[in-house]
């Protein structure tokens, strides 16, 4: 539990989390266990403090942040250009086919390509996460 900085005068709101278990006589099946039941499931702080976990987070951020910025910019370039540079977008590239249609179509391939690259990269993260959990004698989904 973090105690707030004594110099910080903002009031503390919200109780300590009170997720209660779903009621049932006897042991609950795994799918009905809530946060509080599983508080002691693992030493969360110890896992979070490992070098491997920190590196995993950094590696995810290094991919996800630029990838998100890229697809957001690439996508919004379409409505912006179509709306504010219609002459450019109307330029023909092949027969009657114009830049606007080719650019719109390219969005589909951009989305598929990014998704496939993501899946490839994420498989590496899965292996690293498994390795971290194995050190603590745990498995994903446990």
């Amino acid at each position: 539990m973090i105690s707030p900085d004594p110099a910080d005068l903002t009031p503390v709101s919200g109780a300590a989390t009170d997720v209660a278990p779903l009621g049932r006589a006897g042991d609950k099946p795994s799918h009905e266990r809530t946060g509080v039941d599983e508080m002691g499931l693992a030493d969360w702080d110890a896992i979070a403090a490992t070098r491997e976990f920190k590196e995993l987070l950094r590696s995810k951020a290094r991919f996800i942040v630029p990838a998100t910025i890229f697809f957001v910019l690439y996508y919004f370039a379409l409505p912006v250009l179509v709306g504010y540079a219609p002459e450019l977008m109307a330029r023909k590239v092949w027969g009657n086919l114009n830049i606007a249609y080719v650019f719109a179509l390219s969005q589909f391939f951009m989305a598929w390509a990014l998704a496939i690259i993501y899946v490839g990269v994420a498989m590496g993260w899965d292996r690293r996460a498994e390795a971290i959990l194995a050190r603590f004698g745990k498995k994903s989904g446990q």
Binding site: I2, S3, P4, D8, T10, V12, S13, G14, A16, T17, D18, V19, A20, L22, G23, R24, P29, S30, H31, E32, T34, G35, L41, A42, W44, D45, I47, A48, F53, L56, K60, I64, A67, T68, F71, Y75, L78, P79, V82, G83, Y84, P86, N96, L97, N98, A100, Y101, A104, F108, A111, W112, L114, A115, I116, Y118, A122, A129, L133, S140, G141
Partner: protein, 539 residues
């Protein structure tokens, strides 16, 4: 009996058999709400696609492309790119840290009762508005294609069927209805696209050349020739109030950030065994959804060139963009194919409303009833599932009633815009901030959900979708408020999404909640490793 009715009844009979077998296999909450988490990646991908490609996509986009050319295609692009947000940011952490609803993830760190109550309210709002739009669409479709059946009968029929699927079959039946619908929709669209290209001797050059000069009558009766590949026929800066380009950007924001906050899409990720499968299912869904939206080019442009917008007229003799795809099927494939495409359109609506109903009833039963009212304890075993079944029935009945009261003449496009805007402005900010921001707290979550919800509803109410001055002669599709619109855009996203984030951030900064900060580490470890995530049930 018309062939269309026959095919539709065959689909219904088939799905009822599935519901019967699902009901026999369903016992317990995990099985009812999440199909036992045993759906495989490609199955869930198809189901996500079936859940997502609504009648608005199939009939609406084809019609928009047939009448407005390129600008209609812009919708297709946004609807696919949206899945990158789902894939990169939301799907895996949500699957790893949640159980049945998006509120589960918020409740990990935050004070659960207020957060669940607000999240449940926003889920019910999104689902109900989206569902009413689908039901009105269903009723209108019947009038369009089978003049013999009344609007009310069609709405009740769709409503009763969806209640049966959800109340008896739960998530398993819903999933299979969605999978079958996705397969039917894809095969129908592929066949129709091939028939279109046959008209152009399978030559893209001929196809695109024909699009260069489509001659038709505008609404004012003027005969014009337009290049349908040229942007700006609907959202050009010279059209209407001149806000078209900005509206298109605002729509894009709601689509790209709203899909990742749609409750009926998010619940699908709880039906798979783990985050890895959730990821695979998003990719499957993206392939199917992308192929489908590319095919809207053939359906829409095909209708524009082969039929011509002048000839797209419904059973009542009115010009109606929604009739484009079925009429194209009739022209190219004859009566039987027309019947097939019409039945596919019904199946589409059924699958989507079933998905919406189960996400609404899950949220009410799990978040509101069990966790808010009963402090997280079921008072009798199996109570949560029983409440969900009753909720599904009530939600279905309410939607039938609203759809009948609104009537078929009403323009329901704003309901879908509203659903996406609320999802993008209320749900997405709090999901993202609770996963990535340590300082985030209960006050911030409630403020964000509240601001996003209220601002999108208010902005829609004062937008041209609801406000407008119609000529006296117009009898159907009139605006609700006969006044000049205050907010110029039909899509509020460009303003309401920043407001949602702002509400969440300001609310957070006003207070401190040490317990929420303390449990951030746990959430991060869970979200990134899958430790403690709930796996598939044994049976």
């Amino acid at each position: 009996m018309t062939p269309a009715l026959g095919m539709f009844l065959a689909f219904v009979a088939f799905t009822l058999v599935i519901t019967y077998f699902s009901a026999r296999k369903t016992s317990g909450a995990s099985s009812y709400f999440a199909a036992g988490r045993r759906i495989t990646g490609w199955q869930n991908g198809l189901a996500v696609a079936g859940d997502y490609m609504s009648a608005a996509s199939f009939l609406g986009i084809s019609g928009m492309i047939a009448f407005s050319g390129y600008d209609g295609f812009m919708y297709s692009v946004g609807w696919l790119v949206a899945y990158l947000t789902v894939l990169l940011i939301v799907a895996e952490p949500l699957r790893n840290a949640g159980k049945y609803t998006m509120a589960d993830v918020l409740a990990y760190r935050l004070s659960p009762r207020p957060v669940r109550a607000m999240a449940s309210l926003s889920t019910l709002t999104v689902s109900t508005f989206y569902m009413v739009a689908q039901m009105v669409g269903a009723g209108t479709l019947v009038k369009l294609l089978m003049p013999g059946i009344s609007y009310e009968v069609a709405v009740c029929g769709v409503g009763v069927l969806m209640i049966v699927y959800v109340v008896f079959g739960g998530m398993l039946a819903t999933t299979w209805v969605q999978i079958i619908k996705a397969i039917l929709l894809m095969s129908g669209s592929i066949f129709l696209s091939v028939l279109v290209m046959r008209q152009f001797d399978y030559s893209f050059t001929k196809f695109f050349d024909a699009l260069g000069h489509v001659t038709f009558h505008t609404k004012t009766g003027e005969l014009v020739t337009r290049d349908f590949l040229q942007p700006g026929l609907k959202y050009g800066a010279q059209i209407g109030n001149g806000y078209g380009p900005l509206d298109l950007i605002s729509l894009g924001l709601a689509l790209v950030f709203g899909t990742a906050g749609l409750p009926h899409v998010l619940v699908r990720f709880y039906t798979v065994p783990d985050a890895k499968t959730a990821r695979a299912s998003v990719v499957w869904a993206m392939v199917i959804i992308g192929l489908f939206y590319i095919m809207t080019t053939f359906l829409g442009f095909g209708a524009a060139t082969i039929l011509n917008p002048d000839n797209i007229i419904d059973a009542l003799g009115k010009s109606n963009p929604n009739a484009s795809a079925p009429l194209l099927a009739q022209k190219l494939g004859g009566e039987v194919f027309f019947a097939f495409i019409s039945a596919v359109a019904f199946a589409t609506i059924l699958a989507v409303v079933a998905g919406l109903t189960i996400s609404a009833s899950t949220s009410f039963a799990h978040d509101f009833f069990t966790n808010v009212i009963h402090h997280g304890k079921e008072q009798k075993p199996g109570e949560e599932v029983r409440v969900a079944r009753i909720t599904a029935f009530v939600v279905g009945a309410i939607s039938i009633a609203i759809a009948i009261v609104l009537g078929s003449g009403v323009n329901v496009a704003f309901l879908v815009a509203l659903a996406f805007a609320v999802a993008a402005s209320a749900n997405l900010p709090v999901i993202v901030l609770s996963i990535f921001w340590k300082r985030f707290n209960t006050v911030g979550a409630c403020a964000g959900l509240g601001t996003g919800l209220v601002s999108s509803i208010v902005l829609i109410l004062i937008s041209p979708s609801v406000m407008g001055i119609d000529p006296e002669t117009l009898t159907t599709g009139r605006h609700f408020i006969q006044m000049a619109p205050i907010f110029p855009l039909e899509n509020p996203g460009i303003l309401s999404i920043p407001l949602g984030f702002l509400g969440a951030i300001i609310g957070t900064l006003m207070t401190r909640e040490p317990s929420a900060e303390a449990r951030f580490t746990e959430l991060t470890v869970r979200a990134n490793t899958g430790l403690g995530a709930e796996g598939a049930s044994e049976h």
